[in-house]
Symmetry: C2
Subunit: 176 residues, 2 copies
Amino acid sequence: MIRPATEADTPALLALSSDTGFFKPLEIEALAGVLNDYFASNRDDYGHRCFVWEDAGTVLGFVYHAPEEMTDRTWYLWWIAVAADRQGRGLGGKLLAFVENDVRELDGRLLVVETSDTAHYEPTRRFYLKRGFTAAANLTDFYADGDGMAVFTKRVDGATEDRGQRTEPQNHRSQG
Amino acid sequence: MIRPATEADTPALLALSSDTGFFKPLEIEALAGVLNDYFASNRDDYGHRCFVWEDAGTVLGFVYHAPEEMTDRTWYLWWIAVAADRQGRGLGGKLLAFVENDVRELDGRLLVVETSDTAHYEPTRRFYLKRGFTAAANLTDFYADGDGMAVFTKRVDGATEDRGQRTEPQNHRSQG
């Protein structure tokens, strides 16, 4: 079942993420900071959402998503992880579908996720493409030399992401 | 002259930014939060840098840049603004050159800046291209429908950004 994360989940979430082999020590350290802030609510993380998948008392995965400041209903999926020994059984897809629904219900428009463009993350990139995300942009060498950022986006408000069907961009940015 | 910003500069920085016509009310509000945190040091903004250009006791512009978490020496130029009545005199270019030098001296590798892809920000985009930045990526509809994100990058460590001269990306992401 999916339930809101609690502070007591923190050690399990850090261990689970570390064990996947898809997060660097620096990233686990950053996750610890993010979770600490989230549960302490001592920074401007209003609107942030963290949920875990629990089965028979064991946490098997989690997601962390948040609206992006200074955007019109754009959300970021900051973290998604499934326990190493539970991967390949559709749990990641269920967690991602949960996030999409959650963001949609909160009036979200666009869901964005960033990952690495290196070979090690090819399964991650395939995961998003398979679930209807668009490979929206690539930032060469962003994380490090030879380790760029791949950005995936998905409309969650029912609008099409097909550029061919869109009209010319309108300049409606407030100018005052 | 360029000097570190102080808390007393906050009202001037907010007014100056608002007057440029290039920031939405929501963005000015976010800037107020960022500056408040920066001067209070009550969040993890270690390594953040804010400098102002002052002339005869008046603040004419400012920059705010910071290293990006979970990257190898990648920095973001979060904010750069020049007073509306002082634009077009090279002050923005001098502030940007200051940032590049500052990041280089702090062992930075890559400088990243994000702006809008709408017509109103064409001068902003030209500003970065003219100063050696690369138009690295575009994220359609990121800020809002019809208002995408344009990402510019510049190497500040002396390495070339020309993809043609680079070898194949190496997967050196730590896997444990």
